[in-house]
């Protein structure tokens, strides 16, 4: 039997599932050009380019940006800029920390024997088997009890008082990202031949040199994909951030959620479209770089 044979049922099902995956996104992008501010029905594209915005009821009659009216509107929104900045700051900081300590732990768990090992390995599975909301309210309780106690004990007042903010979000993100980094790097370490390291040692390299020149380059793809996974998890996170953020640490998902509970203008759609494009471009670039490196090495 031809292994590439496909039944018509599989093909129809595949097409339907892809349609299901893409229909909402197409709708989302289309409505970002909506002339209707109320954004309930699609009232056509914002019509004309003009010197200033002309509104008629909730309809945009013309705008300097034409169909891209809501994108210009978005660019003027300082809250979005701040939320985007916060999201990136948190994701970058948390990814760096999680990747470093996660890789260290992976090496320890794969290459060493120590008393804590079973406990360390087991704790990695906690974020996978426990719903995120349980972790979210757990860290919220921890921070609020701890901060309440510290603030009282040291009699802190005003700005000196400890409260939820960028730091608590970042620290909590690291906690749920680390296990993913460690597990990915561990999988990479499992698959490679120890004899390379032994050869390096035989040739007189010390442990540090062996790690730097042999082990690390070999696990680097694993470390990179672990870091990338952690980064996207952080960018996308809603639940943990929802419970650990405070004034001034609103991230994009939290900001959008806030909008959905109030008035939704096509600006939200414009924001979503920009988001998709940015992530798409980033992943495409990364893919291209990886492909080129693979070609160079082979």
């Amino acid at each position: 039997m031809n292994p590439f044979r496909r039944s018509p049922f599989v093909i129809v099902a595949t097409v339907l599932v892809y349609l299901f995956l893409y229909a909402p996104i197409v709708g989302l992008v289309l409505y970002s050009f909506n002339a209707s501010r109320a954004n309930v029905t699609f009232e056509g594209f914002v019509p004309a380019f003009s010197d200033r915005v002309v509104m008629e009821g909730s309809l945009v009659k013309s705008s300097p940006c034409g169909p891209f009216h809501w994108y210009c509107d978005l660019a003027k929104n300082d809250d979005v800029a701040e939320a985007a900045g916060n999201t990136l700051t948190i994701a970058v900081t948390a990814t760096i920390v999680a990747t470093i300590i996660g890789t260290m732990a992976a090496i320890a768990l794969q290459r060493y024997d120590f008393k804590l090992k079973p406990f360390s390995q087991l704790s990695l599975y906690i974020p996978i088997v426990i719903p995120e909301i349980v972790m979210g309210i757990g860290v919220l309780t921890l921070f609020s009890q701890l901060f309440g106690w510290v603030n009282e004990a040291f009699n802190l007042s005003g700005d000196a008082r400890l409260s939820l903010g960028m730091a608590t979000v970042t620290i909590s993100h690291i906690a749920f990202m680390v296990p993913f980094v460690t597990l990915v790097v561990q999988a990479r370490l499992q698959g490679f031949d120890k004899s390379f390291e032994e050869a390096a040692m035989d040739l007189g390299a010390n442990e540090w040199t062996t790690f730097r020149r042999v082990t690390f380059p070999m696990i680097l793809p694993g470390v990179m994909s672990g870091a990338l996974l952690a980064f996207t998890l952080s960018l996308d996170d809603f639940v943990i951030t929802f419970f650990t953020n405070g004034p001034g640490s609103t991230t994009l998902p939290i900001y959008v959620y806030g909008l959905l509970r109030r008035i939704i203008t096509p600006q939200v759609n414009a924001l979503s479209t920009v988001w998709i494009l940015v992530v798409f471009t980033a992943v495409l670039l990364l893919q291209l770089i990886q492909n080129r490196e693979q070609k160079q090495h082979s």
């Binding site: 595949t14 954004n39 320890a108 360390s120 704790s123 009890q145 460690t182």
Partner: protein
């Protein structure tokens, strides 16, 4: 000192693993312990936690109520049990639907030409890169009374000359189910694909040589060998569905309340962290029990990490 460390492999291992273990201990294990302690506590009138040992939160969760209609001292109030049951059935239904939808697609990708596989996988991942909250919003627009689905059905109905009144789809249990399926579908496709892709072509050839037809091949080779992927996918879907509150919040409105919504409201609106903690522990225990029995029956797939 440094020299001794260089010779002591066990100490090196401990040191390397220490930051991660420390971090997870303080931000996962201690919080879980705190949640347990607080769930036995009581709420003070101004919303603080009073530490005592009381089972009131748990009895309340399972239906014991002192706020009764006809002046009785206590009665059974099914409200919270219903919420728990609703969350559990929704998680089962979502998982089942997701498996049915993911399997043919994963099969298609795994059987596609190797050069095209990455492209098809890429196409599964693109919707994932939009944010979780944005994806729920996209469905809110589609399901609205004035949304695209009603427009399309209305147009079809007018072609066939059937009278049509727009359906109220938003703020129904069905809307929440669709939203959940959409959010978690890719998490099922990837592990199933990973296990299907591993199946050696020679197995199919052997089956054909031995005269097996398509259905027999599916039942005897494809399905059993892809079980690890289905198991991994189920864990990746079932657990988050149990705890998610945004989907029901936005697509279910006030109509569909799940455990996640209950917990969230206790911490933010109702300000009773002790009751919220008890609900959250029950949620955790429910998912652990289901995962335990499920993985014991089918094994714990490596595909979780692969995905």
């Amino acid at each position: 000192m440094l020299k001794r460390l260089r010779e002591n492999k066990s100490a090196q291992g401990t040191l390397l693993a220490l930051p991660t273990t420390f971090w997870l201990f303080f931000l996962l294990i201690i919080p879980l312990f705190l949640t347990l302690v607080i769930s036995f506590g009581k709420r003070s009138p101004d919303g603080d936690v009073i530490y005592t040992f009381s089972l009131d939160n748990y009895t309340r969760l399972f239906g014991y109520s002192t706020d009764c209609p006809n002046g009785q001292a206590s009665c059974f109030d099914p409200l919270y049990v219903q919420i728990l049951w609703r969350s559990l059935t929704l998680a089962f239904n979502t998982t089942a639907l997701v498996i049915i939808m993911a399997y043919p697609l994963a099969y298609f990708i795994a059987r596609a030409h190797p050069k095209k596989r990455n492209l098809f996988l890429f196409m599964v991942l693109i919707p994932l890169w939009t944010n979780f909250v944005i994806r729920v919003y996209a469905w809110m627009m589609l399901l609205r009374k004035e949304g695209a689905i009603n427009i399309i059905i209305g147009w079809l109905a007018s072609l066939l000359h059937i009278p049509f009144t727009p359906l109220e789809m938003l703020y129904t249990p069905g809307a929440v189910l669709v939203g959940m399926v959409y959010e978690f579908l890719p998490f099922m496709i990837l592990p199933i694909y990973t296990s299907l892709e591993k199946i050696d072509n020679s197995l199919y050839e052997a089956a054909a040589d031995l005269g097996a037809n398509a259905i027999k091949t599916l039942l005897r080779i494809t399905l059993p060998l892809s079980m690890p992927g289905v198991v991994a996918g189920t864990i990746l879907v079932f657990i988050p569905v149990m705890g998610t509150f945004i989907v029901s919040d936005i697509l279910g409105g006030r109509q569909v309340i799940l455990v996640g919504n209950l917990i969230q409201r206790q911490f933010l609106d109702a300000r009773d962290p002790t009751f919220g903690s008890a609900a959250s522990l029950i949620l955790m225990i429910m998912t652990l029990i289901v995962t335990y029995f499920y993985t014991r029956k089918f094994g714990f797939g490596e595909e979780i990490v692969a995905a």
